[in-house]
């Protein structure tokens, strides 16, 4: 009796073991791309993987949104239950890599030539300690103006080349009775706009020193004060009801022609696309005045976790598919961003996308590709959020002067470092 039981147990466990040794043909993915266009774009990836025989399984996140997803991820990782990959942003990847939970894709990276095709600035976040830990999906850039062409024609405006031109253009809109600047008064939107203002006011060198190297001298310099003054000037052109507005509602104001311009990252283009608007005829995309030639970027990445061996093959397939040229093109056409590798043909992209690809390439080669501080690519989250606090308090009047703002900025960043 006992022997039979033992044999039975041994057999059963043997079977279980055999089943485990087989590769798991499934990709477990944590992400928050659930809205129409993004979900459609992700279906391309699902299709590519299905062709290779890998099933796609979304890790459910209650509540949606990046914050909820990151909280869920933290809990999963703490419990030792890693997803195959997770959508991640900037320093989060490095935090998890430092905690030793990320996988190693260096072999795949070598085979696929990621080292050469992915911009060096991005590799800062996808490579940790010499190992590839994440696959960048796209590159967004932040320093864009989105302009309603009908309104622009009505007020007789032309492309602003400098900050003063921009102010003159906004004045024209104001005189014509349109809301000049569409802004959502949430701290990240204000700070995203301020990224562009600083780049425009101080130039590329200054931006890098202040917002990527967090150099104290630059942070408290007169140039930074001037930047805050310029921001204050821009804020005088928003409508009184801007506080708390979501970014896509601000974009909708431009689409509908209620407002002339929005300063926003290129994800705003997804909204124009969804409203069936074409660049050049319905809307215009310009670089933020005075930032031509530089790109302030953020990027979505798929962080790859240190999964058990039987799930590694699926992970490699996911990473390879993510950085394949066909997916990079198909996905980014829909998302509004540009490919995370610089060797993807721009044939399928619209005018703004083509400009974005060319700008990224030039900025990568010219060393003017900088991480956006507001989007968490300039400094770790503690610093980035301290920065957003200061900018937002300045916009909403808790901080009253640019002198005070600069003092607070230095204090807050030092505190968070």
């Amino acid at each position: 009796m006992l022997r039979k039981l033992l044999i039975g147990t041994a057999l059963a466990s043997g079977l279980a073991f055999a089943a485990h040794a087989e590769d798991v043909k499934e990709v477990q993915m944590l992400h928050w791309w659930t809205s129409g266009g993004e979900a459609a774009a992700l279906n391309v990836l699902k299709g590519d993987l299905a062709k290779e025989g890998y099933a796609w399984k979304d890790v459910p996140v209650a509540g949606g949104g990046g914050d909820a997803a990151m909280t869920a991820l933290k809990a999963m990782v703490a419990a030792g239950n890693y997803p195959t990959a997770s959508q991640m942003l900037g320093y989060t990847v490095l935090d998890y890599a430092a905690a030793g939970v990320m996988g190693d894709l260096t072999e795949t990276a070598k085979k696929e030539g990621w080292d050469k095709s992915v911009p060096a600035a991005l590799q800062k976040f996808s490579v940790y300690d010499g190992k590839w830990v994440a696959a960048p999906v796209n590159v967004h850039s932040v320093n864009w103006l989105w302009i309603n062409k009908a309104v622009m024609d009505k007020i007789g405006g032309t492309e602003p080349k400098t900050f003063d031109d921009f102010v003159a253009l906004l004045d024209k809109a104001k005189a014509a009775g349109v809301i000049p600047l569409a802004l959502g008064g949430q701290n990240w939107q204000e700070a995203t706009m301020f990224d562009s203002v600083v780049l425009s006011t101080g130039g590329p060198e200054f931006y890098k020193k202040a917002f990527n190297d967090l150099d104290d001298e630059s942070l408290k310099s007169d140039t930074m004060k001037k930047s805050f003054d310029n921001l204050a000037k821009l804020v005088t052109y928003v409508d009184p009801n801007f506080s708390g507005r979501d970014w896509n509602l601000a974009t909708a104001m431009v689409i509908k022609g209620d407002a002339l311009v929005q300063v926003m990252g290129d994800w705003a283009k997804g909204e124009f696309n969804a409203a069936k608007k074409t660049p050049g005829t319905d809307f215009l995309c310009y670089r933020f005045p005075g930032t031509e030639g530089s790109v302030v970027y953020n990027s979505d990445m798929f962080g790859m976790f240190n999964v058990p061996d039987d799930r590694k093959a699926a992970q490699v397939a996911l990473a390879t598919a993510t950085l394949s040229k066909s997916f990079q093109s198909a996905f980014n056409v829909v998302k509004g961003s540009v490919p995370a590798r610089t060797d993807v043909p721009d044939t399928d992209f619209d005018a703004c996308g083509k400009k974005g690809i060319a700008d990224l390439k030039a900025a990568n080669e010219g060393g003017t590709l900088f991480g956006s501080l507001a989007q968490g690519y300039g400094a770790p989250p503690a610093v980035a959020n301290a920065y957003k606090d200061v900018v937002s308090k300045f916009v909403h009047g808790q901080i009253k002067t640019s002198d005070e703002a600069v003092t607070e900025l230095v204090k807050a960043i030092d505190d968070a470092k």
């Binding site: 914050d67 703490a78 009253k400």
Partner: protein, 318 residues
């Protein structure tokens, strides 16, 4: 059952006794066995995690928990931020908002709840319809309340816009967009949600008052105002205490209302300590600071609850 047991004892005492005692011992232990799982769960998931949070607040935890004790730096930072008033630090904003919100929310809910309860207690027709109407907001989650009031109070969408369309163009109500007044909109939404529940508590209390006392007072010539002022309200004292405790802990744990209603308010001006705690722990990866703020919130609650429990336990022997 017991008769069978006693008869068995009489027949074969030496065999039956241990069986009966096993059963009776089991019966004695049954409540303990039934309570044990929930007791164990409470010990671990409430008190265990309280201790864990206190421990974390003294470490250098950032994104992930770290177990290296580094002293009270997190508390020192909070202490310093407590006095950063101009421009206000996020922590200073959070605790002053807590004071404003807690005070007004509790006071208005108590006053409004009592007032509605007294009105409903006038033996009016249709009380059965009116009571649930006031009570139902409590059945909504804070998220629903927050979103509904967010739309209602938005100057471009709700009240102000509607009144402008009706012709009252000078009407102006933009508190929800104003850094100095946004916390009061949280009070409005919170009061709307909770005052019906407090009304139900007072109503139950009013129904428990002996009608004879009221009649006696009326015969003695007390006016209605005097009747309530001198007799009814003093008799409702225990209800006041319970309502206060319910409201106080609702106020301290309000988080979702602020998020849904204001998403933090202009420049973070609507934050409560719970928002501060979540922001620092999960979004800014400063888990030690977040834990320290959670410990301070806990101490605030303890400071309210312990005197209450003390007075409750002291009254029991009477």
């Amino acid at each position: 059952m017991s008769t069978v047991a006693t008869s068995q004892i009489k027949l074969t005492p030496e065999h039956a006794r241990p069986r009966a005692s096993v059963r009776s011992r089991l019966q004695d232990a049954l409540p303990k066995i039934v309570l044990a799982p929930s007791f164990a769960i409470t010990i671990v998931f409430v008190y265990g995690f309280i201790l864990w949070t206190i421990y974390l607040s003294f470490t250098n935890s950032k994104t992930f928990p770290s177990y290296v004790i580094t002293g009270s730096r997190a508390y020192q930072r909070l202490w310093r931020w407590t006095f950063d008033t101009d421009p206000p630090s996020s922590w200073y904003t959070s605790i002053t908002n807590m004071g404003i919100f807690g005070f007004l929310y509790i006071l208005i809910c108590l006053a409004l709840g009592l007032f509605l309860a007294i009105l409903l207690d006038q033996k009016i027709r249709g009380e059965g319809v009116l009571r649930p109407i006031y009570l139902y907001p409590m059945a909504l989650s804070f998220i629903v309340t927050g979103v509904a009031w967010k739309w209602f109070l938005d100057p471009g969408l709700g009240l102000e816009q509607t009144l402008h369309q009706w012709g009252w163009t000078s009407f102006h109500f933009d508190w929800i967009k104003n850094k100095d007044f946004v916390i009061y909109t949280v009070v409005i939404a919170g009061v709307w949600q909770a005052s019906g529940f407090i009304m139900a508590m007072f109503l139950a209390g009013l129904r428990g008052i002996d009608g004879e006392i009221m009649k006696a007072a009326q015969i003695d010539g007390a006016t209605t105002f005097q009747l309530y002022r001198r007799i009814v309200i003093p008799l409702l004292r225990p209800i006041f205490l319970s309502a206060f405790i319910v409201l106080a802990h609702l106020a301290i744990k309000s988080y979702d209302l602020v998020v849904a209603l204001t998403s933090g308010g202009p420049g973070g001006s609507a934050w409560l300590p719970s928002n501060f705690m979540y922001e620092y722990t999960f979004k800014r990866n400063e888990m030690a600071v977040g834990s320290a703020s959670a410990v301070i919130m806990l101490m605030t609650i303890v400071a309210i609850i312990v005197p209450y429990l003390y007075s409750e336990l002291r009254e029991k022997p009477r």
